[in-house]
Structure formats: structure tokens, C-alpha cells
Amino acid sequence: MAAAIAIEDLVKTFGRTRALDGLDLTVETGEVHGFLGPNGAGKSTTIRILLGLLRADAGRARLLGGDPWRDVATLHRRLAYVPGDVTLWPNLSGGEVIDLLGRLRGGLNEQRRADLLERFDLDPTKKGRTYSKGNRQKVALVAALAADVELLILDEPTSGLDPVVGEAFRECIAEERASGRTVLLSSHILSEVEALCDRVSIIRAGRTVDSGTLTDLRHLTRTSIDAVLAAPPNGLATLPGVHGLDVEGTRVRFQVDTAQLGGVLAELTRIGVRSLVSQPPTLEELFLRHYQAAP
């Protein structure tokens, strides 16, 4: 099956700022893809290029088999978008905005509209200027999720939502995935990414620094080991993949490259293990490592 989104070596500059600097991104049809990166990494710029709002300076971008700049009208029938910063018309009610965006998109599912209003606990009669940030976000979400489209492009969709609505949102995305829709989800909420996404791409300063399933990514990181051994360890520091070794008598604490875990455990077993706590890398560590890495 063709990829829903295929971006290769994308470049976009604004004056002297190089917002995208050779970015790659592949989203397979039917997957929920997490799109991660620190603030200002180029996530929204990438999404705006996919929507044909910005024109790429170099590189290739394909969206649902078409050209996002040229085939705007045909492609936009097949996708729905939730911007990261939702602004509404101050004198239009939320219900009016939902129906308007639905019609402009080519119709929305009435049953789903009613269902989503209930699940998100949104009052559609309020005027745009009276909604709080979270409620504006809900208006955009209802409008997008009620549309019968193949692809959802969501730019930090849960920022500003309360935990209950956030949970309702996660349920909705799980349903979307089950019904075979493709979702590109830009987010900072790692637990959400972990719960929802099949694969993730991490970008930094306009480049893709890592991409794959969470299991793949974890494999490239370090596992923390805290163990009490039968005897003081010898030569542990010289084993490949061991980092930050800290020895207090028979107690050892260190990190090990997950790929070298087998060899290190064999060495520990040879010395004799009294107790052992092993922690897989948390998602936070994974991201912090990428976010803070030198460019």
C-alpha cells in the first residue's frame, strides 16, 4: 500500500531562517504516526506545506498520492485538519463553525457530530469570542473528527484540553485507527503518543533525527541497571556498552546500551547476582536525549 504521506529532503526557508533543512517523513496508510520535536523544530511548517499553505523550496512531498501544492482541491476533500492555535470568528457560534467547516470539506457525519459534542462536553451555542482555549480546540476537533475523511492531520490537538476530554480524544483516535484512518499526530504529550502511535518521527531543527516504532527507538537507547552482586565487580567498566558505572562495594549502578544488554547480563551472572532491577528507557529519556543533543 502506498504511503499516505511521503516527504523526502524537504527544505523551507523564511528569509534567513532555515525552518526545514532536509526533513524526511513517511506515514503509512492506516497508521497513527506521532510527529515529535521541540518547539520551533518545524512541525507546523511541515504540516502547512502538506496543506498547500506554504510552498517548499526544495525536496519532495507527496500527500495521498498527490502534490500538496498543486492538487489542493482534490486532496483537501480527503483530509481534515486541526490547527495548533485555533482561532474562531468572534461572532459565529461554535455550532455554526463546525457546520461551516464540515460543509466546506464536503459534508460531515451527523451521527458523529452529535456523539462528539456529547463526548467532548461542548456547548455549541456560545460565540467564538467567549470560548476558552480548550473549548476552541474542541470546536476544531469536533469539526475534524466528524468528517468522513481518510487522513487526519492534528497539530497538538490536546493542548488546553482537560484530562477527561483528553481521554475522550484518545478513545476517538483509537476508534479512528480501528476503522482504518490514517492520523498524523503532532504532540508533546508523551504518554499520549505512547498510547496511540504505531510509529513516531522525531525532528529537530528542521531535520528528522529518528523514526520508527517505539520498540525500535527504545532499542537504540540505554537500559538502567541497579544490581547487588555476590562479589565486587571486576572489569565491568571495560565491557562494551556500559556507561556511568557507579560501584559501592558489591552494589553497581550503570546504564547499558540496550543492544549490548545480553553480554553485560552474562558478565553479571558470572559474578553472581543477589538482586537486580532493570529499567527500560522511559519515553521521556528518549526524547530528552534527542531534544538536547547538540545540533
Binding site: R48, T87, P90, N91, G95, E96, D99, R103, L104, K126
Partner: protein
Amino acid sequence: MTQALLGAGELVKLDLRRDRIMIPVWVYALTATAASTAYSFRHLYDTPQSRLEFATAVANNASTRAMYGPVHDPSTIGGLTAWRLVTIGATLVGVMSVLVVMRHTRADEEAGRLELISAGVVGRHAALAAGVLVALIASLAVGLGAAIGLIAVGMPTVGSLAFGLSWCTAGLFFAAVAAVAAQLSESARTANAIADVGPSWLSWASPIGWAQQLRPFAGERWWVFGVAVGAAALIGWGGFALAGRRDLGAGLLPPRPGPARGELHGPVALAWRLQRGTLLGWTAGFAIYGVAIGGLADGVTAIVGSSESTRKILEEMGGAKGIVDAFLATAMGILGLVVAGYAVQAVLRLRVEETALRAEPVLATRVGRIRWACSHVLFAVVGSVLILAAAGLGAGLAHGLRSHDVGQQLPRVLGAALVQVPAAWVLAGVTLVLFGLAPRFTAVAWGVLGGCLLLGQLGPVLKLAQWAMDISPFTHVPKLPGSALSVAPLVGLTAVAVVAAAVGLAGFRRRDVG
């Protein structure tokens, strides 16, 4: 009170920093206008004799008198300059004042920026006080600039200062009016309308009238300034009192809930919803204004008087009918310029929607860029026709009823209003070119409109060359009623507007949105 104004000083600095381009442009444009007008007058009418002739011609032309008021002192260059510029300058300074106050009070509040500021160590009235103060600083700068400019070209010092003060008075007064209007409505757009439209109907009760009554270069009456300051202080106090009674973000006119279901079917329906209030307001206002002009037209001959010399002039102009037609033609010309302002702001709505990020969700649907842009441009195109038709119908009916000749006058006056349409379209086209090719400089459209206004107002008295006058589309509009209707310039203007629109739309298709 000091508690309520805490932090105002810092806010004034912030506001001045944000206006570091806008205010100097206003000051420069108005100063240059004052100085260059006085300078040209000095060369064009260099003898008392020639000045007197000019003043007599003015006194005898009812339409100019109705527009600019009487010449208080025709014997000096200063007197002529004051006559020509005080009214129009005072109006412009008033507009500047309203824009500055709104920008730093209600518009910031609407955008949520004021919330960020109010959470700091900032008094309740600090933002309003800062906005008003910045408007006063700007008005003072304009007044001072004008005075220095006039002195520099050799005008008497006292008169020049009085001239500057007359402009300053208007700025002061309108800052106070804006301070009240900013409290009344939740939206800066509505508040601007309240401040702008309200007083303009009460010409003589307004500060524009007071600016004239200061009589620069013609026996200055300084006490008028005192009256204006008193009135402004009273109104301004009202604004602060109202501000103390309401919540941040709320108006005194409360919001109502809207429908749970929407009936908007497409981009045009959305544009209609966003623009209808403005369009209906303009149409109604222009219908009323038209009636006023039409009602006045027939009486113009009486104002001119029945002396021998004026009768002669009247005959030269084609009899009494000629002077009524000339009045109507002048009035319609000015309406045409104002409607061009409507067309400009209708097109600029595109930019407003874009920068507010509201265009993005619409363009992310299957609505194409051109379709979206055209939905708003439609209002500039059709709206100009509607508004001018309303003015023409009002004026034609009123004039026809007064002269007992509705059957003939109505189509003549309506035609005189409608010939302005293509010129307004040209301004809309220019705005669209800016939007498509240089979106960050869309405000230049207002400069172009201001240039057309100054060319039309000052060009003839300054005896500018024809090629310079021809730059303004309004120069090409047939002077109806009274002269022959020539179709060629109308077709030409329309063609220019169409080409400009095509260039603008093509540019918008190619550029980045956002």
C-alpha cells in the same frame, strides 16, 4: 487613582514602540501637506489682489463653501492655508487619534494581549490611560510638526501655532470619544465605527467645527481650545468611569448565545456573515447622507446670493442649474473617495482573516485560494455599487422632490453616484495587488487612498500638472451631473481594476499563506 494608573508609564513606552512607524508617518504626511500647501499658495497667489480674487471665487462657489466653510481672512497666505486645510486635517488627526486609542485598548483586549499585561503590576486604568496618552502625544506631534512646517515656509509664528493647535484639538477630542467607545462594545471594529461615525454627523457641534473656530491666521481665538479641552476631559472621564464598571474582555453591550446549528454553506456565505454588518451600516449611512446632500442642493443658489457679480458667474457656469449640478458633482466625487475606503477595507478583510489564522482552517478544506479570496473581493465590487446606489437614490429622491422633478433628477443624480464605482474598484484592485504580491505592506493601500484624496483636494488649487492629477483614478471620473457622460474613462478604469485584480489573485496563488 495613582493605584489605578500604576504601570501606565511603561505601557506608554510599549505603545510608542509599537507605533514607531505609524505615528511618524502620520506626522510626516500631515506636516508635509501643511507646509507644501502654504508654500505653493505663497507662489501661486503672491499679491493681495490675487488672494482676494481667489477668496471671492471661493465665496461665490457654494459647493466649495459648503465643503470647507468660509475663508476667515482672505488677505493673507496663512488665512487661505487655514481655510483649505484646517477641516480636512482636523478630520484626519481625529481618525488617527481613534485608531491609536483602539489599537492599544480594545483591539489588544480582544486579542488577549491585555490580559497578559493586566496580570502584571499594572493598574486597572493604566492601559486606557496609556492609549489616550499616546494618542495625545501623536496629536501634539502632528500639531507641532504642522506649526514648525508653516513657520519654516515663512508663515507668522502665532498663526502657525494656532493652526497646529487647531489640528491638535481634534486629536484630543477624538481620543476622548474613543476612550468611551472602547468601553461600549466587545469588538474594536464596532467601537471604531461608534467613534468615527457618531460625531461626523454633527459637523458644527463637533471638534472639526471648533478647529475652524480657532481661526488660525485670522484673529486667533485661543479660548476655543479651552472649550475643547474641557469637553474632551468630561468625555474622557466618562470613558474611565465606564471602564471601572466592566470586566476585562466584556463590553457594556452584552453578548448573546448563537444557534447550535449553522446555515452557512460556503465561503461566500461566510464572507457575507463577516461583512454584512459593515456593508449594511455603510449603505444606510450613505442613503441618509445622500438625502442630506440632495435636500441641500436646491438651496445652494440661495446661499450664493443675488449680487451682480455672482449672477454673472452663475450665468457663465450655465445658470442656476449649473451651480446646483456643480455642487452635486463635487459632493458625489467626495462620496466616491469615501466609498473607495470601503472597498479597500473590504479587500483588506482577506489579510485580517489570514493574519488571525482564520483563513487556515478554511483553506485546509476543499475551498481553493482563489474562491476564498473572491468571496471577500465580491463585497468590494458589489458593495461599492450598493452603497453608491443608496447615496444616489437618496440624493436623487430628495433633490427631485425639492425641485419637483423626481422623474428627471433621480436618474441624473443616481448616474452621478454610480460613475464613481469604477474608480473605487481601481482602489480595490490596488489593494488586491498589495495583498497578492506584498502582503506585509497591505496598509500602503490606505496611503494610496490618502494620496488620491490629497490630489483631488489640493491638486486644483495648487495648479498641479495634468499628468500628476491623472495618477488618481478619480480625476478620470466624468463630472456628473452637468457635463456629458463619457463612457471611455469608465471602461478604462474598470479595465485597470480587472487587470489589477488578476495580478493580485495570481500573486496570492503563488505565495505562502500565513
